[in-house]
Symmetry: C2
């Protein structure tokens, strides 16, 4: 840990790439530092974003490269311990492990230019291509998740079957969890994904959703994840309510399975991420109710909550191991998770742009909000949103590599790689799900 | 650990008093139990409420008594290690420690009957009286919290000073945290309490609050607790937003102090509890917007989220120690915390009943909802709400004592006592805060 690169990384927050690395606090502020106060030794301040406004994109890239290079030897020492039976490796990946390949997969080839064809990636979008998910696993998972949806949950009426199949939950989850030890582990993620979509569709969006009364519906559904503890008289009516509609039936069943496979800390983490998600839905609903177009930073704040976060953060449960709660709570880890969630959520904004355009009213997404609030064309808004995504992805990768160097615990490094793999799988699914998505005519 | 009482407690969920004690799972359900799945060893199912519907109140009391008795020897062994310089002891407390006194304080004397006088407790309300909080600490804390509110936060205009003083934050927090090592520790709780009130008053309730747009306001305020991680271009506007109104200024400053004194896991716990609180506000707002009176169980579900929970759960940070994240996440601990939060939140519904009646429109609280939905008088609704509170308090105490026996780790037992002390302090503050509260004419 004495190379110039690592020393620079550990020196402190001189740029975005190192800002999350303050695992030890500077001198605390006046009051709590007073001798009379005995704060716990592990107290860690959270000011990871303080240096952000002065960061140049080029510095981010430079620090990222340094951190990634420095991570290589650490990762080589740590990673042989990991069991990753089914990591998808792009055909062009190098045969000798390097930090980028170990944590993040190979970068995409240079764009070919011109108009993207159906199923092509978004031109200029920074991403890591993955191999097509194992078709045997995809088929097995697809059969099981459909059986669960129909037989256990009565999730949807027959006329929604085409959309259920077109969503390709099985292919999606196999792509996002390459290190899952079994199809049963993948089912943990698949059920939750289906349930989250049921709540979003039926309560918030296309299939009967509305901002009116949403706060009540989401809270009552949230009790399927975070149960009510009440008196003997009122308990049965709550219990019965969890079977009353498809969103609650699916949340409840998916959570029951998840809780049996997860540690209590992993279940608590998931509940927290779902509370965040529901807060995000409610902020979006508040704007929708009044046709308000938020500032770009406000939209990005909402989107940090209405976010894929609950999906990558179960990567350890789906992988059959645990990132300990203390490591999950580290400010540097929280920042890495947020950056990853924000980048991958903007991928959704970009690939679903034309689908959302087709709906009634003005559907908020990052290209639209940039266009509206910054007075630029839809095309310029879209292309700027690609740049926002890329900056967040680079920041995620830089800080993830730096954290792996600073805290080379095998479960932590595996978790970081699991989050990165989830992002790659999520991109692949969006790119190739031509049943749902097609690109605008901007190139 | 071999007395009949403990054996009965550990036997399993035969009643509410033991339902939280399943620290080891029964055989998992079909799929995840399949040999191919390697769930973590510590997996613990969460079905603590399965036995609830069949529970009789008398059984709750009996199991509570057993659990409390069984806890005595465990607590005696554990508690000498604790440093509790300023635990308020009622004058009538026994000099030899017993489990109830160690965990819960002495019970109230039998009610004297007749009409309660100003400052009397609610007749029939199960509670533990406490000694008047140390006036020296109260004075020191009151000065400091007012200086913070005025000098650091610019919390309120001069005309709100009387209400700020009348809230008696200093006296409240000294009553709720008898084991805080210093006034600086108490300030951690006092700032957060003031900040939570500022958000509730200014965004939701009396002082300009409204259900319209609340989802947006609460989410943006939540980023003062759970920061945004975004690009260099959009970061500064978010950063600046945290100073734009008193709720965000107070959340941000209170959280900055808290994070410096807390471990990352404690900060994560607090964020989760605040996300729950904000979800609760938004469910209540959804009903308010449409003048909807929920079912009683729905109201109780909302109130488990719009709840004092974030206050007692920081008892360890304020006490200068840490309940480890794994112990906090245990299903039995989560249930104890929920029961405690629910009981103490209904105390607020009961003491603020006449204050809320005086406001415009129908303010939902448990007596009103019971009266409306069960077709009984306001008086009957109120008296039934007292019984709901009492059942929750007894359940909290039974399960808390049982958990202390099952898991006699000093920090866990101290945390449980801290939660109980918070409830006692909260009751005392409500009972004696005649600036805000007076009782209805129901006796």
């Amino acid at each position: 840990m004495s190379s110039p690169a690592i020393e620079r990384i550990l020196r402190g927050p001189t740029g975005l790439g190192t800002a999350g690395l303050q695992l030890r606090p500077p001198a605390p502020a006046a009051e709590v530092a007073a001798p009379a106060v005995h704060a716990p030794d592990v107290a860690a301040p959270e000011a990871p974003t303080a240096a952000l406004p002065t960061v140049e994109a080029s510095l981010v890239e430079a620090v990222a490269a340094e951190a990634v290079a420095a991570a290589a030897s650490v990762l080589e020492a740590v990673l042989p311990d990991l069991q990753l039976p089914s990591v998808a490796t792009p055909p062009s990946a190098p045969t000798l492990p390097s930090a980028p390949a170990l944590l993040f997969g190979a970068p995409a080839a240079a764009p070919s230019g011109g108009k993207p064809k159906l199923g092509d990636p978004i031109p200029g979008l920074y991403h890591h291509p993955i191999a097509e998910p194992d078709p045997v696993r995809v088929e097995a998972l697809s059969l099981k998740i459909k059986a669960w949806a129909i037989d256990e949950i009565e999730l949807y009426p027959p006329e929604w079957e085409k959309d259920f199949d077109g969503f390709s939950t099985g292919r999606y989850m196999v792509a996002c969890h390459p290190d899952a030890p079994s199809v049963d582990h993948l089912m943990l993620a698949a059920r939750l994904m289906v349930a989250e979509n049921a709540v979003d569709d039926c309560y918030c969006e296309d299939l009967g959703g509305s901002p009116i009364g949403l706060g009540s519906r989401l809270l009552l559904a949230h009790t399927a994840l975070d149960p009510l503890h009440t008196t003997a008289e009122y308990h049965p009516a709550w219990e019965a309510s969890l079977s009353e509609d498809a969103p609650r039936r699916s949340y409840r069943s998916a959570m029951d399975y998840f809780v049996r496979a997860a540690t209590p800390s992993q279940a608590d983490r998931f509940r927290h991420d779902m509370a965040r998600l529901h807060l995000g839905y409610l902020a979006e609903a508040a704007w929708s109710e009044s046709d308000h177009v938020p500032e770009v930073w406000e939209y990005l704040a909402m989107r940090q909550f209405n976010n894929f976060r609950p999906c990558p953060t179960i990567t350890d449960t789906v992988g059959g191991y645990e990132l300990p709660a203390e490591l999950h709570a580290l400010p540097a880890m929280q920042r890495v998770i947020s950056l990853a969630g924000n980048a991958t959520t903007i991928v959704n904004d970009l690939y679903s742009y034309t689908k959302e355009l087709a709906g009634p009213g003005l559907h908020l997404n990052l290209p639209v909000v940039i266009s509206e609030r910054e007075g630029v064309s839809r095309q310029e808004g879209y292309l700027k949103a690609v740049e926002v995504h890329n900056e967040l992805m680079h920041a995620f990768e830089a800080e993830s590599a730096a954290l792996a160097v600073a805290c080379p615990v095998p479960t932590l490094v595996r978790f970081l790689r699991g989050v990165a793999a989830w992002l790659d799988g999520n991109h692949h699914w969006h790119q190739t799900n031509t049943h749902r998505y097609s690109l605008p005519d901007f190139w």
